[in-house]
């Protein structure tokens, strides 16, 4: 494909613009694009991990949403805004994970294919977590026992869940 402007060099810059719902596609060579005031991006930089991650964050929102989020949604602990996170690909502090939970969920799924931790739990303050994990595991076993119509075992597991849940109070 040749550049739409000079019709001599191959078109290497392709972009799609949407004006009032109408889509306009443009194909230019680097020189013509630069002449029109376009910025030539450093491809390697554009594709760097923080940038790619950043784009994960914002892709779920249209521009309107983003503006309102970047105005109101900042982390009370460290002051990071969603817009900062989407440019750096990094969060500001541990609290950001709670503040931006909704925005993070799809990102985590895309990066890891999952959004729930199943690994190590810190010993200190982690006892409750261990118990909850145990209950989750038991509930899963319960489902399996019911599916296998092993009601005797299911009853056993149900009792164990009840006992374990007492530890949480």
């Amino acid at each position: 494909m040749y550049c739409e402007e000079c019709k001599q060099r191959p078109a290497t810059v392709h972009f799609t613009q949407v004006y009032n719902g109408k889509t306009v596609e443009t194909h230019l060579c680097q020189q013509c694009y630069a002449q029109k005031g376009g910025i030539i991006f450093d491809v390697a930089k554009q594709l760097s991990l923080p940038n790619l991650l950043g784009s994960f964050f914002v892709s779920n929102y249209n521009l309107q949403d983003m503006k309102s989020l970047s105005r109101t949604g900042s982390c009370p602990n460290c002051g990071m805004k969603l817009s900062d996170i989407s440019t750096t690909g990094r969060l500001g502090c541990s609290e950001c994970y709670t503040v931006f939970e909704k925005e993070l969920e799809p990102t985590l799924r895309r990066v890891h294919g999952d959004s729930r931790h199943v690994g190590k739990v810190p010993a200190r303050g982690g006892e409750k977590v261990m118990v909850k994990k145990k209950i989750e595991g038991l509930k899963y076993q319960l489902q399996k026992a019911i599916a296998a119509e092993d009601y005797e075992k299911a009853a056993e597991i149900r009792d164990e869940i009840k006992d374990t849940e007492k530890k949480l109070d």
Binding site: G89, G92, S94
Partner: protein, 360 residues
């Protein structure tokens, strides 16, 4: 200063090839655990004041424990080290290139004398606990790293969420916060032209392949770093098992091609190894890429029993000793590229001659 070792000697623990299983192909194993202090701004947002507080907390937690591994460690903050010395830690693979760029007094490392345990402080995360061992020893690396994690956790409040796991500055590390990696020497796979095919398959399994200095570095001397990509939704054991089994498959493939080369191209192979050894033993000027390529050939020869006198740990050492910062440290002065090339040839010749004398 105990950590002098890391700056004045070439040898660190992961180079001890005779200690590690599969070390003819798996050079070293590493486990890295990312941990952050709860509510403290992540490292990239730290100013001097918070940074100092963060380091003090870590230092306090470290000093409180009487665990042997922790007692052996020494704290080196980056204002104490020159840029060259920090670069030497990068060349030994103990810290990331990014970490070495800073001269801040609240960034640095806690390291033990043999360089098997190195905690990066205020790199991308407040703590990155790392264990490095020779050969394929991911389980042992994990056991040691997680022991340190447990010890420090007694006195530090790590950022943890029961659903998201250990919270990290970058969401790619959240969950276990664990990166497991192996450094592989794969000359036969490269020679057979199967690299892309194999690495494509590895990527499908949630693993990544990189050059030896980590993210964004090129592949030199047929060395590759294989590591897990996913940190959330898999347990530490799962991640290690996955990487282990993929590594073993790659190792088998590499061995298979090596065997075929030995059968079908015996003379060509011996010729190549012999020439590489000849050049390394007598060249006067060697640039980095050439030296790495030749060392890779010699290593292949040594691993296949063609150069019985050359010990693999010597080659591990040389791969690091010929990097620019190590050469300049040895020369005791800054050098331009040409003078480094001369020094590089000298260092290699000297070391290879020593090995021959020792074995005679």
């Amino acid at each position: 200063m105990k950590a002098d070792n890391l700056l004045n000697r070439n040898f660190v623990r992961w180079m001890a090839a005779d200690e590690g299983p599969e070390s003819d192909i798996v050079v070293s194993s590493r486990i890295r655990l990312a941990r952050n202090l709860d509510l403290m701004p992540f490292s990239h947002l730290l100013d001097q004041e918070d940074g100092k507080k963060c380091l003090q907390e870590i230092e306090k937690a470290w000093k409180k424990r009487d665990n042997k591994d922790l007692l052996e460690m020494e704290l080196l903050t980056f204002n104490q080290l020159t840029a060259l010395e920090r670069q030497m830690l990068v060349e030994k693979h103990l810290i990331s290139p990014n970490h070495a760029e800073s001269a801040d007094s609240f960034r640095g490392v806690l390291a033990n004398p043999d360089g098997s345990l190195v905690i990066m402080i205020n790199e991308e995360d407040h703590l990155r606990i790392q264990c490095f061992l020779p050969g394929l020893q991911l389980e042992e690396c994990y056991r040691r790293a997680q022991k340190i994690d447990d010890e420090l956790e007694e006195n530090l409040n790590f950022a943890f969420d029961e659903r998201r796991g250990y919270l990290t500055s970058c969401p790619t590390n959240v969950g276990t916060g664990m990166r497991a990696s192996v450094m592989l020497h794969l000359p036969a796979i490269v020679f057979s032209g199967q690299t892309n095919h194999i690495f494509h398959n590895i990527a499908q399994l949630g693993m990544t392949v990189r050059g030896i200095y980590g993210e964004g570095t090129e592949v030199v001397g047929n060395f590759f770093q294989l590591s897990n990509q996913i940190t959330l939704g898999q347990s530490e054991e799962d991640i290690i098992n996955n990487l282990n089994s993929i590594t073993i498959r790659v190792v088998e493939q590499e061995r298979l091609i090596r065997e075929r080369l030995a059968e079908e191209m015996k003379y060509q192979l011996e010729d190549r190894v012999g020439r590489a050894f000849g050049i390394l033993s007598s060249a006067r000027v060697l640039n980095s890429n050439e030296a790495m390529a030749l060392l890779s050939d010699v290593r292949l020869g040594a691993d296949m029993g063609m150069l019985a006198k050359i010990k693999p740990y010597v080659l591990n050492e040389l791969v690091v000793a010929i990097r620019p910062a190590h050469l300049q440290k040895k020369a005791g002065k800054e050098m331009d590229a040409f003078h480094r090339d001369v020094k590089r040839a000298e260092v290699i010749q000297e070391r290879l001659a020593q090995t021959r004398e020792q074995s005679n």
